[in-house]
Subunit: 596 residues, 2 copies
């Protein structure tokens, strides 16, 4: 069974030396984030992940069961969920007015890695609950907030999102679930929803379903969709769960992975619900939930790669097989450890340089998210929100595509043993696979990016991204070694990205398919630039750390070595992506549909 | 459940218009391969694949069982195996002197796609048997040949290869299984072997294990390994299976996929065996089997991608979701089919252009294999053998890496439904994954390629490859449209490959890690050049077909469209691979082992 070690040193480096959160006086609560606070919090979070959640990961792979409408979670999940709840880990960044501890989201993002790396399926229960919490927080009436939020912050009640129906996933305009008003402010919902994660289970006293449905006479398409709160048990006057609502789990899906979380077919049979937000404005409200969920899913891609990498690295240092081509490294043993072989290192460095770069990129996104809510200057809040909105599809698509690939590479280090269940490597692959699909398949992320986000604000946000990189490079250009290893590659990659954007502007006007045919390539190109930037920022911090003569010099040196690997071997992919983008619509659109 | 349609038109195009096998008078048996023969054979093979084997694929995913030492294969496998046997599909290309039909291997390679695409796990039973057949054919005594070959050609008896032990996979020098001579020509073998595919099952009256072991006082390392024939039942005088041998299946591995084939732990407890070939020369003999097996595994990567692609393409044409950005294509319906979306086409064209290119490349390899055995000129036999030996690791690594990626892309087309078992898409992914690992993990293929094959024959074979491409381009250069779309990109890719080879020569001398750090990149670079060449050859044939005014003009046009996709969007990856290769050892080797 794979073990798990929380990468706390890495998080503290990013928080305190790269982002310097503790010096940031503009985002409310950031000056409190001193190492005195972050260190112990991350250590405690890591303990729960390593000692409680990680050992349950392979147990959870055994799956949930459904019997007479009751879903049972895997052995040990209930107790672990109590520990997650009681440790205050779910409410860390929630609103203090509604059961939360009010800490900045960036701390939750860092701590959350340990839990999700340790057990992705398990952490979906609280992850979706917090998504529903945010949606009710943003759109709920005072009464709804009072009824639901505190219980959800603490995961006493959990939450779900109900979008998909058998005939529609991405294209929600076609959904059919009906909501009929009862004249007393409530509605009766009828219909079937599928792929509902945590839709039914035995770990909470109530489950709060957020359900998309149509009211009678609602306009066709996406403009006729409303969002409803549909609890499993109707809350009584005193707030306690009351009568059972007319909804049930009809089936658990048999699936590839995340077996520890029940994926439910949910049947609503005149179930009682209440409108959340305005009628026919359900989709924008759901997207509040969705956008944050996309960042969570980006994290899942990274976190599974991070967990799998650790196990692969440790195996490569232990397993004896073959000899180093430059001469035996462990002549006293029957063979050298795998790690002497360049191609094994290549597999591992692809992973390590992705994991550390993406970790920084996601914390930069978490900082933007905090700024969008907590910055002192409203204009900066808006700016941060716009930037986050641009980066969200990039992070979701890039981190989950690459994250999955990296779990495959980690599995590869094990040879045949990676294919066998007991080592746990193939579970990482199966679990990570879903992240490329849900919360909008990665092709949809790419479409959102190229079709919507690039041109948002008249392209101002995108320009702001380029300007920020340019300004960064200019500010650091005097450091020649930094320039050679980090800034020059970043500049080249950023130039590829600008040329791609220019191509889209010029050729997309003539035919939108010229842009959309390169949408996934652009998402990856953008992702690499973001990673290159994150690495360059880490390199600046590592060089500062070395120059200071304080801290762990070997940590800084290894950070620079890993960064140079990314910049020299991974980042040049931007050129290939640009070349593909420039081929435009013809290669993609020329083949008639019937020839596929 | 996914259905399967044999791509017979594509095979006939490659055989008769690209390779023109029927006109080849130099390879024995090729002039017999007229469409009159190949057409009906492929059609019959396809029927078995589509009607019998494909429906059993998802059944097979349910797995085998082990009870009291008896392994039961999935429901229906036995009857299907009888049909495979009785149809003569296993013995198609075997030696007529020993139960075979003596047809060229290229026909078996083409027909085999249908069976392996339809059911990979099932086809491993006969695949490994034919590997063992070839080894006994090459190294066995007349008596051994007479005892085993005919029964194995027809799969009345099946075969296995026993290499791996718990502590050694790639590094066979460490193996410990012992073989003690009994003075009567037989040996007693004792030890444990793991990962033995088809190690024990209920579909044949005997199982012939080829087992690597050490004789007493054998030299340490790979030079002290011998190969033994160890049958489950000792053959009686009359050739029928006699006494049960002292070997047993101790465990079936729980694994990620290929559940239809039992992966066994095999225990040998003074089991009776006979030396196959010379003492201490077991490894070269096993590599006879292995090299062919590597091409088989390359096929598995391709064939799973081919099968998954079909299902994904058909889903994309059926499933209604969203609208084409350039205006509704099916305004009468609630939505357009998925296939209108550029990014869905991108997913599918990556697959289609890989599948068709790799199919041609593998048939080119099959032709080389036939030439190495059947060419009229012994010098040409040697030349073909050398070339095949160079291409084998490339095809194994490239086709299985890409093949797996393509099953992931096929799964992606299905969105959430791709993650659910019942659609069968996730099984393609799980099954295809093993092909990157077994018969030498792909990193080992890359090592073999760069560390051994490039310099073989003083580099003459590699030069021959470059010369062949150069000659091909020169011969066709007058066709300007062909040059622009196919020859120029091929030339550029081939130049990247030559530069990479030159880099290895210059820098690998200084430090072998300069070459080995780029070994996987080179394997992929080489793979792309091979694919580009295969596509260019298909383009020549398609253009000739169009010019002839005969045949299916739309087939030829679509072939060219698909080829242009590969040449413009896939082939430029060679530039990225070259850039990575040129970074040499430093990025890969700088990080100390303890920092991983």
């Amino acid at each position: 069974m794979p073990s798990y070690t929380p990468p706390t040193e890495d998080h503290l480096f990013i928080l305190h030396e790269v982002l310097k959160v503790q010096e940031n006086q503009e985002i409310e609560g950031y000056t409190d984030l001193t190492p005195d606070l972050t260190g112990p919090v991350l250590q405690e979070a890591g303990k729960l992940g390593a000692e409680v959640l990680a050992p349950l990961n392979i147990v959870g792979d055994g799956g949930c069961t459904l019997e007479n409408g009751v879903v049972r979670t895997p052995e040990g999940f209930k107790q672990a969920f109590d520990m997650l709840r009681d440790g205050g880990w779910t409410s860390l960044a929630c609103d203090p007015d509604f059961g939360g501890q009010g800490l900045p989201g960036i701390l939750h993002a860092a701590a959350g890695e340990y839990h999700s790396s340790a057990n992705m399926a398990f952490m979906m229960f609280s992850g979706l609950t917090l998504g529903a919490y945010r949606t009710i927080h943003a759109y709920g009436t005072e009464e709804q907030k009072a009824t639901y939020l505190e219980k959800m912050a603490t995961c006493q009640w959990t939450g779900t999102m109900n979008l998909t129906e058998p005939h529609c996933g991405t294209d929600l305009g076609m959904l059919r679930t009906k909501a009929v008003p009862q004249g007393d402010g409530s509605y009766k919902l009828s219909g079937q929803k599928i792929f509902i994660s945590s839709g039914e289970h035995d770990m909470a006293e109530n489950i709060v379903h957020l359900v998309l449905a149509r009211t009678p006479n609602a306009p066709a398409g996406v403009k006729g969709i409303s969002l409803f709160i549909v609890p499993k048990f109707l809350p009584k006057e005193d707030g306690a769960p009351g009568a059972r609502n007319a909804l049930s789990c009809g089936k658990l899906e048999e699936k590839m992975g995340i077996h520890g979380n029940p994926t439910c077919v949910m049947n609503y049979d005149e179930a009682t619900g209440w409108l959340l937000g305005e009628e026919n404005r359900g989709l924008p409200a759901m997207f509040t939930m969705m956008n944050h969920a996309r960042l969570d899913v980006a994290g899942q891609g990274l976190f599974q790669a991070a967990a799998a990498y650790q196990v692969a690295a440790s195996y490569a240092k232990d397993r004896l097989q073959g000899r180093a081509v430059t001469g035996a490294v462990a002549p006293e043993k029957a063979a050298d450890p795998l790690i002497v072989h360049p191609d094994v290192r290549r597999l591992l460095l692809d992973q390590k340089s992705f994991v550390e770069g993406a970790r920084a990129a996601l914390l930069i996104a978490a900082e933007l998210n905090d700024a969008s809510h907590r910055h002192a200057d409203p204009a900066k809040r808006k700016e941060a929100d716009d930037m986050l909105s641009l980066l969200t599809p990039v992070l979701k698509g890039f981190c989950t595509d690459k994250g999955f690939d990296m779990t495959v590479q980690a599995q590869q280090v094990f040879g045949g043993h990676g294919y066998i269940r007991e080592w746990g490597m193939e579970q990482f692959v199966r679990d990570a696979r879903i992240a490329m699909i849900y919360e909008g398949a990665n092709g949809v992320q790419a479409l959102d990016l190229v079709g919507r986000k690039l041109a948002a604000n008249g392209g101002k946000t995108l320009m702001g991204f380029f300007e920020a990189i340019k300004g960064f490079i200019k500010a650091k250009a005097a450091d020649e070694e930094l320039a050679k290893d980090f800034l020059d590659p970043l500049k080249a990659a950023s130039k590829d990205m600008q040329e791609a954007a220019m191509y889209f502007m010029a050729e997309g006007m003539k035919n939108p398919n010229n842009a959309l045919s390169g949408s996934s390539d652009f998402m990856h190109l953008f992702g690499h630039v973001l990673m290159g930037w994150a690495w360059a920022r880490m390199a600046v911090a590592a060089r500062a750390g070395l120059a200071s003569g304080e801290g762990n010099a070997e940590f800084y040196r290894n950070k620079l070595r890993t960064g140079r690997y990314y910049m020299s071997r991974m980042l040049p992919e931007t050129g290939l992506r640009l070349a593909r983008i420039r081929t435009g619509a013809a290669p993609v659109m020329d083949l008639p549909a019937e020839a596929f």
